[in-house]
Amino acid sequence: MGALSHYLEEEGLATTQISLIREHTEITRPPRALWVPFELGRPFGIPNNRDFQAKVLLQVLSLLEAEKGPVLLDFPEDAPLSDMQPLPFVCPISFGNAAEDLNATDRMLNAFKDEVSQIRSWYDLSLQKTGRTTAGISGLSLEEIAGFFAAFINGERKSPALERTLATALRMAAEDLKACYFEALAIQTGDTGDSSAMADWFWGKTVAAQIIAALRIACLAIPENDFQLLGKLLLVPRTKLHLFKPAGA
């Protein structure tokens, strides 16, 4: 981000910026930057808090009136804490309800289908109430994503969209799946301030997370670079990989 400030300023535009990682900004030394102590992904602190966002915005814009630089100022407040209660969400689905003659993969896929069916109701309610969804980059519905992932785990190697490679389609569908789940969760719990609780719920409690972890393993078994990249970096967050280590690893 700091590099873009240099290029724009050299072209005659004044710049100011948010800094999320102070150590990087100290190296790039952009003309004006406000370091904020918020988590990655939330440069203005917290959703649905107009006053707090405005406070951050005013401070970063005010740097445009600094007389000289480079200037790197620290925002003095942490983001407000969430009032989020322990999540009461309908998930997880029990694998144990499936027929005994199914293998572990089929039981997982059946549980995923059931879970998606539950999520669908809450996701639709979210869309109706907020008029907005961030899902959709894959072009697939929730149920189509579930079918696509089940086919991939069962060995099919075909992109559901002509204009996208299989690896790209998998990445985008995984992001859409998570968006549907998180939007469904937010509408059910009514408080979205605590991102770590939401991430812990998804990666620790849902069948969808186990499906994404299974996709990751399948990708790592394919030697092409785009699947290796997907498996190593782009499906499961680094901080959640430990949840999916095979027994004894």
Partner: protein, 153 residues
């Protein structure tokens, strides 16, 4: 949190090891008071209109976001899975504060906001974005933008 001292050790090491360009120059453009500025937003969150091209691995180009874009038309195709998206899913202003900027114009805190704003995908080395950024500067200046707020994710 984006305070490295609150991150797990492995995550802290990873972030500190990311390539980060340094510069020997210190460009500085002065201007009028905030209430007379025309401001554009640039994000590296990989945002774009719903029917625009998603960002892919290595993308160094940008997408145009009209200031009056409906909230439901703004989506994110950043390739990284290592930052929070739940904030953006609930309120685009936590990433891309279009509504807050609009309120600042109404309150005469800033002079005006650009009709168009822009998005890159921050997983790409920013040095690869230099040509597109300099092109963008010329476009913004032609639209009388004098100041840019850059927002990472």
């Amino acid at each position: 949190m984006a305070r490295l001292d609150r991150m797990p050790e492995d995550e802290r090491k990873h972030l500190l090891a990311l390539p980060c360009p340094s510069f020997t120059t210190a460009p500085w453009v002065s201007g009028p008071g905030l209430s007379q500025r025309k401001i554009a937003l640039i994000t590296t969150a990989g945002l774009h209109r719903r029917d625009d091209r998603p960002f892919g691995v290595g993308a160094a180009d940008y997408r145009i976001i009209p200031a009056d874009i409906p909230a439901n038309d703004l989506v994110m195709s950043h390739i990284s899975t290592n930052f929070d998206r739940t904030g953006f899913q609930q309120d685009l202003n936590v990433v891309f504060p279009l509504d807050r900027l609009r309120e600042f114009v109404a309150g005469k805190i800033i002079g005006s906001m650009s009709e168009f704003h822009y998005s890159f995908m921050g997983a790409t080395d920013p040095v690869q974005m230099e040509a597109a950024t300099r092109d963008l500067a010329r476009i913004m200046k032609a639209e009388q933008v004098d100041s840019v707020l850059l927002v990472p994710v």
